[in-house]
Point group: C2
Chain length 130, copies 2
DNA sequence: GCGAAATACCTTGACAGGCGAAGTAACAAG
DNA sequence: CTTGTTACTTCGCCTGTCAAGGTATTTCGC
């Protein structure tokens, strides 16, 4: 079951920055690496990917340069900037906070729903051992 | 620092369902409870909240009924349906998976960027104790 | 040698969720 | 009687994702 990047909305940029923090790379490779690292659970669509690059570049978080390979298709490499690293650090800490917050909101102990018969009497629920 | 709900996009529904899984409630109260549980880090905007209710109702995950209080403003209560509970369970497991995936993508050990002087020589980085 | 697949990039337009802004209405407190 | 709180509603904008389409080169099987 693949995750929709829609559930990760807003994190594509962070994911990309995190990849670039390790080493310069180009779109196609970054995408493959993301798929790989996520165990195939996340596959960014190209449109998503390249629009993220444009966004990151416009924000000054990455800079682009053409690779000089004399064989194969031309590659557009990206490099993370200092501001980009700052942004990444900020996003990572924000992700930790988001996790905490969402876990707090989603992990409350919950009573089982009470079943009632037609006269409003409670129907006992048999507890199943896990 | 309040979280942007944009980072939680797609989870508002789950958060609401999770609240309703505990007990029937109405918009204003649910919102206050969310703010409270999140330690003030998440405050859903009313437009967000009520459009979520409409969405959830149209999907059959919740049903609405008017409260019969004879004082104060009228309240529209919501109750989670059986399908809603199923959906909630699914969303919760999806959230766990999302967390795992994102953590896998964001938590790789990273080399510090190498600083170089004008002749390309490496500038040693002084390690700061934390 | 040729067609398919893989590599590699790019663009356009639609869609959906979050939100700013505004409105309605009842009641409480001062 | 004005301000604040409770409570709900609607309209239209913004932004990130994606479906669908395109270009160009190289590699591999047959």
């Amino acid at each position: 079951m693949a995750l929709s990047a829609d559930l990760l909305r807003g994190y594509t940029d962070t994911i990309i920055l995190n990849q670039l923090a390790e080493t310069d790379s180009y779109g196609y490779e970054i995408n493959k690496r993301i798929t790989e690292l996520s165990g195939g659970r996340l596959e960014l669509k190209e449109a998503t990917l390249y629009s993220a690059f444009r966004r990151l570049e416009n924000s000054g978080y990455i800079i682009a340069y053409w690779g000089d390979e004399n064989t194969g298709a031309r590659r557009r490499y990206y490099s993370i900037t200092v501001t980009g690293r700052d942004k990444l650090a900020e996003s990572l800490s924000q992700w930790r906070e988001t996790q905490d917050t969402l876990n707090a909101l989603l992990s409350q102990t919950r009573k089982a729903p009470v079943l009632r018969d037609s006269r409003g009497g409670e129907i006992p629920v048999i507890q199943v051992e896990e």
